[in-house]
């Protein structure tokens, strides 16, 4: 019971501190993008518009007022869920993010799962071979993996499995001809809900390569952190004491070693997960995956300010949510952090 009270307390505190953070980020987003030498009024008009038309548009958009007033108007609309209209796509930014964000979340979550599996397995293996000759080899391999970025993995995997062996698809989220159910926006989830199994498997096939590329690129740092925290934990008295009580090495590892060593690994996973929201960008482009990354690239290329602002805020909220989730998990796993 006390644990839930503590977690509730943490949630309240973190949500309260999240509000000023979001305000600061929104102000920064708004002001910095206003300073850019692009004129939103001119951009939302056809190229043959007259100066008078531009002026009229500026007035209509409120661009002639002081910047804090503009910010106030923008913030007021934001709170009503209106981030504005995309200049390029001629669509509400909310609906654009609404369709691309689930795609990126799906990509990030599955990539994180892949990274966790590879990271934990690799970390355990690195720990297992400690002090043997294999350790040097594994050390070399893990550093090699650490130095390969995700876009290289994307290209390797695409060339091997997509082009050479032609076993996996490598563009978009679905092959042509598949029905696309929309319930929550999460394709995998929606196809399961509607019982559309063929769509589910087709979507899953499309995710394999990008998720593998991201997951493999993230896993080496997890491996190394898990290995070194396991090595630290194994210096502690309670591990020795557990041995002296005759517990098996397997039990010591799972119940005493991993339970303590997982904590630093978990914080790294939280950081990585946050980065994934911005970090899927290159992978999304390589696999033509219709997520937030591709949306951002289009927006930046077209100086589409409303989308950039919307995407920036979304990123900030995602990072805050993840850090709150990781901290709650920490409370569950580490009794020392709970109130006495």
């Amino acid at each position: 019971m006390r644990m839930f009270a503590t977690i509730a307390k943490l949630l309240v505190k973190r949500v309260l501190t999240a509000i000023p953070i979001l305000l600061v980020v929104s102000a920064l987003l708004f002001c910095i993008l206003r300073v850019l030498p692009v004129d939103p009024a001119a951009m939302s008009l056809p190229p043959n518009a007259t100066v008078q038309e531009v002026e009229a548009m500026r007035k209509e958009m409120g661009l002639d007022r002081p910047i804090y007033e503009q910010y106030g108007i923008w913030l007021g609309k934001l709170l009503q869920g209106d981030i504005g209209r995309s200049i390029h796509f001629r669509q509400d930014v909310t609906s654009l993010i609404g369709t691309t964000l689930p795609a990126t979340v799906e990509l990030a979550v599955i990539a994180m799962m892949v990274a966790t599996v590879f990271g934990l397995a690799g970390g355990l293996f690195l720990f297992y071979v400690r002090g043997t000759r294999a350790e040097a080899v594994m050390d070399f391999v893990s550093i090699l993996l650490l130095s390969l970025p995700e876009f290289l993995w994307s290209l390797f995997l695409l060339l091997i499995f997509g082009v050479f062996f032609e076993v996996l698809p490598f563009t978009g989220r679905l092959s042509p001809g598949f029905e696309r159910p929309v319930v929550t926006g999460f394709l995998l989830l929606d196809s399961l809900i509607t019982g559309n199994i063929s769509t589910f498997f087709n979507a899953l096939e499309h995710m394999i390569l990008p998720c593998l590329a991201l997951g493999i690129a993230l896993s080496p740092s997890l491996m190394r952190v898990l290995r070194s925290s396991l090595l630290d934990v194994y210096q502690d008295d309670y591990i020795q004491q557990a041995r002296l009580r005759g517990l098996s090495e397997k039990r010591i590892l799972v119940r005493h070693g991993l339970k303590n060593a997982i904590l630093p690994t978990l914080s790294l996973m939280g950081v990585q997960f946050g980065f994934l929201f911005g970090g899927t960008l290159l992978v999304e482009i390589i696999y033509s995956y219709p997520g937030m990354g591709n949306l951002m690239v289009d927006a930046i290329r077209n100086a589409d300010l409303p989308i950039i602002q919307g995407a920036g805020l979304t990123y900030c909220i995602a990072v805050l949510v993840i850090s709150i989730a990781v901290d709650s998990l920490y409370l569950i796993l580490n009794p020392k952090l709970r109130a006495r």
Binding site: R243, L244, R245, R255
Partner: protein
């Protein structure tokens, strides 16, 4: 004679894995019968803990048994298949660790760990583990057992964790228990209770115990037999009382005389010079390992290793001149100081420090007084001891005195000036007068700075001796005073031994020649030989510089040796104070009496009856 539960014959452990091989344990012979306690005594590095590790066969990498036998109930422990040995561990052979707080897994509750252990030894399965656990807790006098099961180790005191570990160890009614310095990390009163508890449980189950300690006095109180180890080899072995009252080996005698007494007339401390030879040099050593430090050594001692010879019933010693051992006497005590000069350096009046818990919407703010209306004075050249258990407010008081904290109420006067406010000018003023020596040199000395720069650190703030050359000169002077070679100035803390680090710690405080030192537990955790060296160093330095000192310690015999006056603290208050000898000879307050009773007596025939009732468990 009953069959021994554990016996060793000519047991040798060597390190063979590394580049060079060297002996770790040499020629160990002993046999331990059921229901008996064998005390293992020696300085750190003597190989005491290695015996426990040999029994469990969890030896450090490269260490291996090269010769001899080690048998548990007739079974060969060394050659045994690992599965069989693991089966014995926790069931038949139990261990109690040195650090109770780190001996339990921090992320599992006490109940989870108890359940795991009970299931492992096959005592309880399913849900009846809870009853069984409570029964075991009751046996070690842990009340509120049910509430305890949901606690995590960090919520409990060291004494309680140690009781839980003892309950775990005895749950399976083991036939052999190895207790490795089980009380070193605990307060003196808790130490007494834990030692008595181990003895009680051991009697209940007829368990044979190996009790490892660096405290010869403690070992002689609870053991049947004692083995003194020196550099991995037994120096002496015999019945506890006989060995303690008439030690045959000079090393045993020196250890005994290095420890200050708690009763009787005060005597000087025997200073064992230098250090025990490192294991790596043992191979080149031809003669007796102790010869280089032995006051009785003659030419013959350095020629051949002395055999373990019988000198009485069941009493053996590895010395060729045992008849000369009683001639080793402690040095004469320096004449007592006349502290009548009575020029008051430091004065605290009604000092109070209260702490308030952080504001929270879920709980009321509570406040407690760590230091509660304490009055004290410190005269010129006077050493005043502050004793009490952890949590009694000793360290909080020290923090107020040196200005790390500001008192909530009361006044501190330093050499005639009120420094209570603790602002910038008070701090600068205070810095010239008071320096603090911290408890743990390991963490007090910056590992990335050289010793020469550490000891002259105070010069950075004062602007005195600011050139590098001046600082190096000052460092050389300081190192000479504390008895370290001049080349130590260029070394890093990690290259020094524990005792040398604590000397550096003292030298750093002395750099600007303060009038007052505040020393917080600066000799606890050190070997008695090193402790004796440091205590005499402090007395010598006082003669040279005439500083005074507030000396915080939980070791009453050390305070008795060193301090002119003593203050006894209990729950933030001073419950008794006065001249050290008067207070210890005739304590007025019940708490002082219970502290004194908790110290094992100097005379092994005297009854050791510490107050075992705890003042109250702090279970939430």
């Amino acid at each position: 004679m009953a069959n021994p539960i554990l016996s060793a014959q000519g047991l040798c452990v060597e390190s063979v894995g590394g580049a060079e091989s060297f002996p770790v344990l040499t020629d160990l012979n002993f046999s331990l019968e059921p229901g008996k306690i064998l005390g293992l005594v020696g300085e750190s590095g003597a190989g005491k803990s290695m015996i426990g590790r040999t029994i469990s066969q969890y030896l450090p990498k490269g260490f291996t048994v090269t010769r001899g036998m080690l048998k548990f109930d007739g079974e060969d422990l060394v050659g045994m298949v690992p599965e069989r040995r693991r089966n014995l561990l926790g069931r038949e052979i139990a261990f109690i660790p040195q650090e109770p707080l780190s001996g339990l897994n921090p992320v599992l509750s006490v109940g989870q760990q108890m359940k795991e252990h009970l299931a492992r030894i096959g005592l309880a399965s399913g849900e009846n583990w809870r009853q069984r656990a409570l029964k075991e807790f009751e046996a070690v006098h842990l009340p509120h057992g049910a509430a305890l099961l949901d606690k995590y180790p960090h919520q409990l005191s060291g004494g309680m964790c140690q009781r839980i570990l003892i309950a775990m160890a005895f749950a399976s009614r083991p036939r052999l228990l190895i207790a490795d310095e089980p009380t070193t990390a605990l307060d003196v009163t808790i130490q007494a209770r834990i030692v008595k508890l181990i003895a009680e449980m051991q009697k209940r189950d007829g368990t044979a115990v190996i009790f490892i300690t660096h405290d010869l006095r403690l070992a002689s109180q609870i053991s049947d037999e004692i083995m003194v180890l020196y550099a991995g080899r037994p120096a002496e072995r015999g019945p506890a009382k006989q060995l303690f009252s008439a030690p045959a080996h000079p090393y045993t005698r020196c250890l005994q005389l290095a420890n200050p007494t708690i009763t009787g007339p005060r005597r000087g401390l025997f200073i064992l010079p230098e250090r025990m030879p490192g294991l790596r040099v043992l191979k080149e050593l031809k003669g007796c390992r102790f010869a280089s430090r032995c006051p009785n050594a003659i030419e013959a001692c350095t020629q051949a290793e002395p055999p373990l010879a019988e000198i009485g019933a069941n009493h053996i010693a590895a010395c060729i001149r045992t008849e000369k051992t009683p001639e080793i006497v402690p040095p004469r005590l320096a004449p007592g100081r006349e502290s009548s000069s009575a020029k008051i350096h430091l004065c605290g009046e009604k000092l109070t420090k209260s702490y308030t818990t952080a504001w929270s919407p879920f709980a009321l703010r509570t406040s407690f007084k760590a230091v509660n209306s304490v009055d004290f004075t410190l005269g010129e050249g006077e050493f005043v001891g502050i004793v009490g258990e952890s949590g009694s407010g000793k360290s909080s008081l020290a923090r107020l005195v040196v200005g790390l904290d500001t008192p909530t109420e009361g006044q501190i006067t330093l050499a005639g000036r009120d420094v209570t406010a603790n602002g910038n000018s008070e701090r600068a003023y205070r810095r010239d007068y008071i320096q603090m020596v911290f408890q743990d040199p390991q963490s007090a000395l910056n590992p990335r700075r050289r010793i020469g720069s550490i000891v002259t650190q105070a010069n950075e703030a004062s602007g005195l001796h600011s050139s590098t050359q001046e600082r190096m000169d000052r460092a050389a002077e300081l190192l000479k005073e504390i008895g370290l070679p001049p080349d130590a100035a260029m070394r890093f803390p990690s290259q020094l031994s524990g005792g040398q680090k604590q000397r550096v710690n003292i030298a750093r405080a002395l750099c600007t020649l303060p009038k007052i030192l505040v020393a917080d537990e600066i000799v606890s955790g050190l070997d008695v030989s090193v402790q004796a060296q440091l205590l005499d160093l402090l007395l010598k330095l006082r003669d040279e510089h005439g500083f005074s000192m507030l000396f915080i310690s939980h070791d009453l015999s050390v305070v008795r040796y060193l301090c002119d006056r003593v203050m006894v603290m209990y729950r933030g208050k001073v419950v008794e104070s006065g001249k050290t000898e008067a207070v210890f000879a005739d304590p007025q307050h019940a708490y002082t009496r219970s502290l004194l009773a908790a110290v094992p007596p100097d005379d092994v025939n005297m009854d050791w009856s510490p107050v075992l009732a705890e003042a109250g468990y702090q279970v939430e």
